[in-house]
């Protein structure tokens, strides 16, 4: 909201930024995120192996969070390109939990239905659906459902690989289910009603 900033500048309140978005993201992140401590040094972007494919480097994204640019942040592909390699996390002089902030932003973008350009949310949701049904991962179900929907043209090229995986017994045809699925379901049902508020 730039006009608000203008008013504030005129009123001499420029130092009182609207940090509600920054705090919201920090609050929703596991552990103590240290997000507010970012000094904009850019070590994160410089350490990132996939920064070239990102709309914004992590440093830029954190500046946007501080500026309250909710929609731009949640539309960014950056959290979805992040491969969680934690290079930035161990190099960050302020110990910001960068990878975990990216997870928080993914969740917020899905909820706000703002990031639509990638197959990533579908992949995550399909994966989670499998886990919530069987309690264990099920690669064949996940891969076939995801590829048929988003990468049908990739399938012919992948046939030798898929065939190899199946015939070498590395991709079971049937999912494995845990014994106490009812217990896991009860836990997840309760967990979905909870949110980190402090």
């Amino acid at each position: 909201m730039p006009h608000m900033t203008d008013e504030r500048v005129r009123a001499g309140l420029a130092h009182e930024e609207d940090l509600s978005l920054l705090h919201e993201v920090s609050m929703k992140t596991a552990g103590v995120s240290h997000l507010e401590m970012c000094i904009q040094c850019g070590t994160c972007g410089g350490s990132c192996p996939v920064a070239m494919d990102m709309d914004h480097t992590p440093r830029m994204l954190f500046a946007m969070l501080r500026a309250g640019m909710r929609e731009e942040v949640l539309r960014s592909n950056t959290p979805w390109i992040c491969v969680s390699c934690y290079h930035c996390v161990v190099r960050c002089p302020q110990e910001v939990h960068i990878a975990d902030v990216m997870y928080t932003l993914k969740g917020m973008a899905i909820k706000a239905k703002l990031y639509q350009d990638s197959t990533a949310p579908h992949f995550s949701q399909t994966f989670v659906g499998m886990v919530e049904t069987y309690g264990r991962g099920f690669e064949l179900g996940l891969a076939s459902r995801h590829y048929l929907r988003y990468f049908p043209l990739r399938l012919p090229g992948m046939m030798p690989m898929g065939f190899g995986m199946i015939t070498k017994g590395r991709m079971p045809i049937r999912p494995r289910k845990i014994k106490h699925m009812d217990q896991l379901k009860a836990i997840l049902k309760r967990a979905k009603q909870l949110e980190l508020t402090s």
């Binding site: 934690y86 990216m102 993914k106 994966f127 590395r170």
Partner: protein, 336 residues
């Protein structure tokens, strides 16, 4: 005897079953006992965390709760839970750490676990990775003493991957970017360990599924570097790394019009070979980029991978010339 709780993780039942087979094969010689956590569930990999925080951490922590209960029920219960998969290790370790760093997370997670009659107090268990336990508990001297077939002449690129040495909240590794645990272990087996600066670079993780171009570049860097430095094969500690480098190497080659052939084996498979086990006992031969030529440097012969067993549904049908079936008689046919 060293005793531990084992959290195998989903990959070890499927794409990385060779990891499980080779792990089982080396436990005997090292006198280590692993007890599987009963009814463990998926750790959510890197997917659940990006959807919903409390369910994601509750999913992970159910395993810790089950493990703690199992450990408490035994007289000589071990407090150490071992994960062979880097992503599982990280999730379990991170959940345990974050619930201590931010107690409110632990409160919410326990509220959810209660719905399933479980609870977990953060810090109860020690979460460790397989290679950590082998190098620091069992020790390189013991490992060296079990070697009957030194891997002399085998040039190995030690690939640690990213999620094992980082973020390392528990300070378990010698370095975050250039840890030497895998190098030391491979050297103890007699292998020639090449200098491999990309050892903790990312393989792309789930990007092979959702953003292949991003992943292919990461895979290319790793494979090209190992190749240029003259490695016969790469050694890994992680099922995801193995899957990406092995199963997607063909697609990566196609994408860049390259012709790399860089096999990647689990470090446990190399340990098994060095302990004198046969490739068949170690799941060697199910990799898609064959390690046959690489292991020929050791004089080890890798069995030709089993051909797909085509199941014949009916005996009746169009009469087909017998020789199309290579003249082989299958068990069921022979009975009939």
């Amino acid at each position: 005897m060293n005793k531990y709780l084992l959290y195998p993780g989903c990959s070890l039942e499927s794409s990385a079953k060779a990891y499980m087979e080779s792990l089982n094969a080396i436990l005997g010689p090292l006198d280590v006992h692993f007890e599987e956590i009963e009814d463990w569930n998926c750790c959510g990999a890197t997917e659940y965390l990006g959807i919903n925080l409390i369910p994601a951490y509750s999913l992970i922590t159910r395993n810790l709760a089950l493990a703690a209960r199992q450990s408490a029920a035994q007289m000589d219960g071990t407090r150490t839970i071992v994960a062979p998969c880097s992503a599982c290790y990280l999730n379990l370790a991170k959940a345990d750490y974050y619930m201590q760093e931010r107690p409110s997370l632990g409160v919410k997670v326990n509220e959810a676990l209660e719905a399933g009659g479980l609870q977990y107090k953060a810090g109860t268990l020690d979460v460790r990775h397989l290679i950590d336990v082998l190098v620091y508990d069992i020790g390189l001297d013991t490992i060296r003493s079990k070697v009957t077939r030194p891997l002399n002449g085998l040039r190995v690129a030690p690939y640690m991957g990213c999620m094992l040495p980082r973020p390392d909240y528990q300070h378990r590794w010698s370095d975050h970017e250039h840890p030497t645990e895998l190098d030391d272990l491979l050297r103890a087996l007699g292998a020639e360990v090449i200098d491999y600066p990309l050892t903790t670079s990312c393989c792309g993780g789930h990007m092979t599924q959702i953003g292949p171009e991003t992943a292919f570049e990461l895979i290319r860097r790793l494979v090209a570097d190992a190749d240029e430095r003259g490695a016969h094969l790469m050694a890994t500690v992680c099922p995801m790394c193995q899957l990406n480098i092995d199963a997607y190497q063909g697609e990566m080659n196609h994408y860049f019009s390259t012709g790399y052939h860089m096999p990647i084996l689990f470090f446990t498979q190399l340990m098994g070979l060095a302990f004198g086990k046969e490739p068949g006992e170690l799941g060697i031969g199910v990799e898609l980029v064959s390690s046959r030529n690489a292991l020929a440097n050791l004089g080890v012969e890798v069995p030709i991978a089993q051909e797909p067993t085509v199941r014949k549904r009916k005996d009746e049908g169009l009469p087909m010339p017998r020789r199309l079936l290579n003249g082989r008689k299958r068990g069921k046919e022979a009975v009939k």
